[in-house]
Symmetry: C2
Subunit: 182 residues, 2 copies
């Protein structure tokens, strides 16, 4: 399916993914529910749970050269061995969004190396970005990661690298939800 | 109100703006209705008419230097003398959206001079861009323009310049709706 398309992440008592851990990194957290269902399109709100929505859309910062390098190494979602996943919703500051495109790009890649450092973890860590800000959602981005259990340490290292970057100083809300499927 | 916020353009029998003319530039047109209501937030569908929605959001291509130059000369919406308006919904091709950020920026400004040529018409022509693609709308952008009657010729010239640009080769649907208020 070509972008743009909506994806809903519904936390409740059903869904393919079992919630293994949920941590609030900064700002308000999200209620822990036993399972997460990932659906293309809109999803109804599970009783007592929550739904976050985002749009898979076009690349906003990536250059043609970077897209080519990424395409050569990245893996898709749904690999049978990728039984671990993470959903990381983040919201950035108003100051971030009021910056111009070149200022945001300079922080994102020239100074934080977001793409370059993520590249080291490919193809082990598969990733899909969902844009939520323009939908009026409580988060700006929902990033979904999938990986095999033996790459969990690498995934932890990727998160540590990103969170230590200048870009992350502009993150004012972040929740980390770790998931498993069997 | 800080972005992002939704704006609805509802064409029907009510609304502050009277539809003066509607032209299909390329692709499918839109039904002519007598009036247009512009509302912040969601609007209900007028009987027999249509509603288009878009989000006022952050700048996607503009550099810090360009934002500064624009801020120094641009006018806001709602000037009493600006009794003419235009709503121009456009959709770009899949090929456009599959390009990387640097490729789109190169066409948009380096080769098409979208910002530079628009700047010549400031502050006479006030403008607000609404992003619609990620909302699942039939158009990618809804651009709203306001100007005084004596600047209509300048507005026509701006449209002619933009439509002659390389960027416009990627426009696959465009409708032009001219409006008046008293």
């Amino acid at each position: 399916m070509p972008p743009p398309f909506i994806v809903s992440f519904a936390a409740g008592s059903t869904g393919e993914w079992q919630v293994h851990d949920i941590s609030t990194i900064v700002g308000d957290g999200l209620k822990r529910m036993p399972r997460l269902a990932v659906t293309t399109g809109e999803a109804s709100l599970p009783a007592g749970g929550w739904v976050l929505r985002g749009v898979v859309s076009h690349a906003r910062y990536t250059t043609a050269s970077e897209l080519k390098d990424l395409a050569a190494v990245q893996a898709g979602l749904g690999r049978p061995e990728a039984t671990c996943a993470a959903l990381i919703p983040i919201r950035k500051s108003e100051a971030w969004w009021s910056m111009a495109q070149d200022e945001r790009r300079a922080i994102f890649e020239d100074r934080s190396r977001h793409i370059a450092l993520s590249m080291k973890y490919l193809p082990a860590i598969a990733r899909r970005l969902h844009h939520a800000r323009d939908l009026g959602e409580p988060f700006d981005f929902l990033t979904w990661f999938e990986f095999a259990p033996e790459h969990e340490t690498a995934f932890d290292a990727l998160l540590a690298e990103l969170r230590a970057s200048e870009e992350w100083r502009h993150v004012e809300r972040e929740v980390e939800i770790r998931l498993r499927r069997h």
